[in-house]
Symmetry: C2
Subunit: 217 residues, 2 copies
């Protein structure tokens, strides 16, 4: 049985590992991501190692074990199912669900998650477009393209957002953009990488950073 804190570490670890191609990360990055101090992380890593959830040697890189990875995916599964519940059934807005799901993801009851999944009609993705792992901790990952890579003149469709922060999501909503929105790239500025896009017949100028966080197909 994992504690809330351990679950959060595993989730953070998987997140950082997926982010940085090489499937490994370090103490400082993990601390930064969790908003705590490296010294604390160091202690916890020793604990996670004795529980065989991570592979880790002094001064070495941190990796998730097979089991650690599975546990992390099961937490993500819970998180995304709860987010879907909050959005679909309770009509929370896009940007509010993450925070509450951070708490709900730690409820311990396999039966609850199974029943919740059924209640929601076995959704494949959460309201941010992220895939929901199955009960075995397996997740289909499909190729996602950033809006940045779309050539000028073509039209694409939003399938997911990379950043889940309330601030970013509110901004996206304000522009009338949501999952499945059709986005046309009108032009790109070489100067700062920003681009002009059209959504629902309205045009907007958005920064490079903004576009990078919209994942399209």
């Amino acid at each position: 049985m994992l504690t809330n804190t351990e679950e959060n570490y595993l989730k953070a670890l998987l997140h950082l590992m997926l982010q940085s191609g090489n499937n490994e990360t370090g103490t400082n990055k993990l601390a930064e991501h969790l908003g705590i101090k490296p010294a604390t992380v160091n202690d916890m890593l020793k604990k996670l190692k004795t529980k065989k959830l991570v592979m880790y040697e002094k001064y070495g890189k941190i990796k998730l074990s097979k089991d650690g990875r599975k546990q992390a995916l099961l937490v993500i599964r819970k998180h995304r199912l709860w987010e879907t519940f909050l959005y679909e059934k309770l009509h929370f807005s896009w940007d509010e669900i993450h925070e509450v799901a951070e708490q709900l993801e730690h409820i311990q009851s396999e039966k609850l998650i199974e029943k919740l999944e059924k209640f929601l009609g076995y959704p494949q993705a959460d309201p941010h477009g992220d895939p929901i792992p199955d009960a075995k901790g397996e997740m289909k990952t499909y190729q996602k393209t950033s809006l940045l890579e779309i050539p000028v003149g073509s039209i694409c469709q939003l399938v997911a957002v990379k950043d889940n922060s309330a601030m970013f999501l509110q901004y996206v909503s304000e522009l009338g953009i949501g999952l499945k929105s059709k986005i046309k790239v009108i032009s790109k500025m070489d100067f700062d990488g920003s681009l002009r896009i059209e959504v629902n017949r309205k045009q907007h100028n958005v920064s490079q950073k903004f576009a990078e966080n919209l994942l399209v197909k």
Copy 2:
């Protein structure tokens, strides 16, 4: 902001206070109820006192303050709304919901509870027949009669159960009894206080303790 543990103490305190008419209780009873040691309770009471949630002097009786009582009722509110959700929407059985709700009741989000309440259609009572306090921490308490007090020959209707344990509730279900079941008292045994009842045209012999935990009107 209250911790999970503090919330559990307040809930336990209210429970024991309501149980024992005089609106007060002691360290040992509280410890017993929470499944921990009196020494631990003693420490926590000091903490709850500094937070002005209980009234308490060394060797004296323990009482909830106005605010403590309100907080306790808000936890009960959350508990009962979640139980209703688990029962009505996820189709958990009567005896499974309490345990999961023990966890869910600690999720911190007022908005979540408001939306949940709306989603459930503003229920007045949980699946055990217990009233659900409102957002201000006010709860309507209605008079409940134990099945024991029903005279031989008369018919009554189950409105609530006193004991929420899985064991008791499973037993009740096995006899085909649920909320709103019509129960006829056929006879009473003076010897051990047990009684013969009829539900759905089936007769059963039940103990005094069993009957005591069925609340009827």
